[in-house]
Symmetry: C3
Subunit: 461 residues, 3 copies
């Protein structure tokens, strides 16, 4: 029987886990597509649901020699039969032993899809058929699953120029919980993004402003932030590959903006421009209250042959070392003491947890540390996170959990893993005399549920 391994925890941890396992899910950051709940169409097939959109899954298969085309990904995979993709995946299921992907998928198969047989090459077809049958049922439509998962709030991540029409439809749909957008302006602010100039044009059209003019550009950004707030957004999100912020004087930034518009910035200028724009965003956040999320340190698309042949985001984003103090210095020294500002920081360089992020979050009023991100959203990643940040930042400078996923079905599994990780951590604290049981139970509730609501300034949840 495919019993999800989550049933096994040491006794004290198990008892803490049982106290938080069934709390509602708050998902304040992720990459689900709002069209799912706007249209409520059925999910297509098991491969399209579980394998092809999951970079954790296909990167592991690729690392062991499976061509992406064989998985139905990229130009070579265009007409690939989903059942063949699923069989191929099942044949390599052992590769995932010990990975969060395996734990998420086992949880999803067992708890959400009701698959009891362990996945294996010989069960691949039967499992495929079982999933297919479920997907055809109305109770597996996106809205029904949303309810069943017990999600009280879910935030999507949306380009700053999104019309947010799906969110409008969802709001009118009577969905049990809320789906809100998140303001993501990377394309508009970072001249090194491929779509930068196209995004500027869209913004101009959408706001009816001359975005070639710096003041008008800033005003247009304010317009869009207001639109997002009206649609329920409480946060912005920023992908920051090279962590650098700076504050330029008016002449400098208007000159750089003109060249950004013209597409003539060199690498150093483009970084300075983006570094300044992040400070502008922080200032706007202090004004309008949107929580600012900074995700830093991923080196994107490091496999050039693959990104040329198949496209970006093919599993070759690899983290690098970060300097948070130097990188955020200009931003923090400009607005970091403003009590209205909140900045959530996410790192892929765990050596900065105890060295930089915890000391910073334990000082700056604006800062909270986001949960373990990406490769570190795992039981050990969670263990290292708590072990490294709590002693200096405490629990109340943490931002709770978010799943950051585009794999909707994995949401309960991911929150479940976080809750198990929380329980294991708190049990360790009890065993060493750091917390007593009632303190641990209180912190369990905070970490599993309340912290995210508080960190993201979610009202009415």
């Amino acid at each position: 029987m495919n019993k999800a391994p989550t049933s096994e925890l040491p006794p004290v941890a198990m008892s803490l886990y049982e106290g938080i396992r069934d709390l509602p899910i708050v998902s304040p950051h992720g990459h689900c597509d709002p069209v799912w709940w706007a249209k409520d169409a059925r999910f297509s097939d098991p491969a399209a649901l579980l394998i092809q959109p999951d970079h954790y899954v296909f990167r592991m298969l690729y690392s062991q020699g499976v061509p992406l085309g064989d998985l139905g990904i990229g130009p070579e995979g265009r007409d690939r039969d989903p059942r063949a993709v699923f069989r191929l995946f099942a044949r390599h299921w052992d590769l995932f032993l010990g990975t969060p992907s395996r734990q998420w998928l086992e949880h999803t198969l067992y708890h959400t899809l009701g698959v009891e047989a362990p996945l294996a090459p010989e069960t691949a077809d039967a499992v495929y058929d079982q999933i297919e049958a479920k997907l055809a049922s109305p109770v597996f439509r996106p809205r029904a699953l949303f309810d069943r998962f017990g999600i009280s709030l879910l935030a999507t991540t949306d380009p700053a120029t999104s019309p947010l029409s799906d969110h409008t439809k969802i709001a009118a749909s009577g969905l049990s919980g809320r789906v809100v957008p998140t303001f993501r302006p990377d394309d508009l602010l970072n001249p090194q993004k491929a779509g930068h100039r196209a995004a500027l044009s869209s913004l101009a059209t959408m706001t009816d402003r001359d975005t070639d003019n710096y003041d008008e550009f800033i005003a247009a950004l304010r317009d869009r932030r207001a639109a997002f707030r009206s649609a329920g957004a409480t946060a912005t999100d920023h992908d920051v590959p090279d962590l650098q912020t700076c504050w330029l004087d008016r002449d400098q930034i208007t000159a750089l903006h003109a060249r950004a518009v013209a597409g003539t910035l060199n690498h150093v200028e483009a970084r300075a421009y983006y570094g300044h724009m992040l400070v502008e965003m922080a200032q706007m956040s202090a004004e309008d209250g949107l929580v600012m999320q900074i995700h830093a340190g991923s080196r994107r698309n490091t496999n050039k042959a693959l990104s040329d042949a198949v496209g970006p985001d093919m599993g070759a984003d690899i983290p690098g070392a970060l300097d948070w103090v130097g990188g955020l210095g200009a931003l923090l020294n400009r607005v970091g003491n403003d009590p209205r500002l909140r900045v959530l920081v996410f790192t892929l360089d765990e050596s900065t947890y105890a060295r930089e992020l915890a000391p910073m979050a334990g000082h700056w009023p604006c800062l909270r540390i986001g949960p373990p991100w990406w490769f570190h959203d795992s039981l050990n990643g969670i263990r290292r996170y708590f072990d490294n940040v709590v002693e200096t930042a405490g629990y109340y400078n943490l931002a709770g959990f978010n799943d950051d996923t585009r794999a909707f079905l994995s949401i309960p599994a991911r929150h479940n893993m976080w809750r198990r990780g929380v329980a294991l951590h708190l049990a360790d604290q009890i065993a060493r005399g750091v917390l007593n049981k009632s303190e641990a139970a209180r912190l369990g509730d905070w970490l599993a549920h309340d912290a995210a609501i508080d960190a993201y300034r979610i009202e009415g949840a």
Copy 2:
């Protein structure tokens, strides 16, 4: 009941802990004010005792939006009622869950101040009154507490130009243990310190030497080291923000010294000058036997608005990445093989424990690794320290514990946490078959007591 959580440890760890819990305290590095024992005046009020001087405490409160003025700190806090400060602190007591500060304070409240009620907003006044009553009693005067804490030796940290008159008074006072100074010449050696030129003047006056002349300056430093040794000092201490050492030829250093005196060094020159002076210090340590302590890697006062408004040391010192091999290369290659030299190194970049410090201490005769420092003086910090350094450096290249505190009342609590951490570590070694019980017990004594005496060359303790 406010039972200090230190009572909870797994059985093997508990048994090891009980074997070392009550050993005398050796405190070879810290920042207590010697005037306390010279004058033996009563401590003023609970806020001034426990909150206002403790940067761990006020930085956490500041991080959650409490203005420093409300805590009676800085110009805005001048006339703040200490009881109001204590109430504010009690209201935010939950922020400290999981932090060493909470564990130290719980231990102090329970074991030293006899407070059994858990601290909470509703008990704040009663706890305040209880502490007040204790502080008024003669048995809570500094000398009585020193005896009661079982301190056999305590080292203060003193500017190189200190007249050491408090230490003279203490030596004549009949205190049960010893209080000795530590030679701290940062102000004289690092041209980037604010008080550099004033310190040079003091040195000139005090030693009656022309410190504008490099040879006389060096001789004056030797004079002061000798005075510290006469007052019982066995060590020097050096704050090294940017880890860099170098050995300049005579023409270079005399030219730089002239410009240091004139205050005209640029940043690069100032670093080279300080780097050279650290090597001079190491050479003097080889000659006179003073143990050289190097505390490296803290970026000071990174919140400029706060340091401008309130002053330095307001909780915004944040660590950065270090390169110990490159940074100490010149020093070690000049004197590192000299059997007379001892250098104790302290890091805030834990990624250097296993990568650099343990391999270095397991090779260079002069090096020992100081205990987890500052943010890392915590149960997890201690765990990471042992886990990362012992296998390569062994136990006998470690420097034991020191509390590094300016919070006198926390000294027993801090040594207690170290001893719990030692016991937990040794129990883990037993569980994995690395040590047997008698080896563990022997190492427990070494780590809890003997190592510090040996590392700091303390005689007669």
Copy 3:
């Protein structure tokens, strides 16, 4: 009784350990001297066997003030009595508490040499005599021990210009297992190695090619690789102090080669040259199937006085921080997607495990992560390795274990420690519900035995 501490493990770990403890030993990377099995001469004395060649041992003694000459090492130690060396070592045996060296030596003394008395100053002579007596016996000759240790394959590491005559003799000797060479071309490829030009001459003579000509040089390298393959080699090995690769165009590399031959490259050029040659090696590996091992990040001979007086490799090699993404970028982007290529990477900077190596190995088809190396070949090193890499790279992107030792007698002890570390890790996975018992048992076999065979493309083992 000197009971090796390996007998102590928690129950679940013990049960897993017992399942893998007695598997045959596969040792695909190390530095044993093939002449031992070619000649099968007896080992000389206990000091020459256990102390003098073991840099882990003498560096620790040196760190506590024992001159290398007193250990019979270097010019000052030329006529040192081995018994005196052994006594000195026994007097300092406590220094090794908690180190892998102690665990390896205890295992060797007890299991291989039958010494039951604990080593101590007072037992030194008796232990010395016992070992002496064993070494005189035919069953302690190198071939007999090889059989007794249950080694199925052992790879030595050999200069590219080695005639491999010892391997020829061993192949004809009827040894129960195989001894194969590993192609190590550092001297030929890295112009910063002392022996670079002499190695080029040897290569020219040996292959009868004009190695001053770049194409002929490349052809000569191919010749030697073919010779190694004929002698059973399945791998190459590369020491890479500064991790940098690059691909130069033909004009650039031929120009640099001419200057490399002339010995006129500056530091930057020498690094570029070596960086290019590593890519050439990767391309040849894709062609001929030799597994490419990259050992990166050791700063060599950082104690200049010692290397001047005694020689290189005296325990002063200290790791530094690494950037694997930047460093391997050119190599991977040129050949990293080639399904024929396999590259095993070894790091001394553990902060790169989770940040870089695991994400890279979980993506690039060519990459597998080598086991914890050097200072990290220890119980905690193994724990950190698994905890940091498995979740992102899985188990099947790991290269199993290799002992990397020149201390033949320690081989069973080192594999034993790995197997204990594997058992402890897998037990932790079971306790947290990540693996069930049958998965753990399967992975135990893989990690203890099969993975090395698979990673190194060993056939018929």
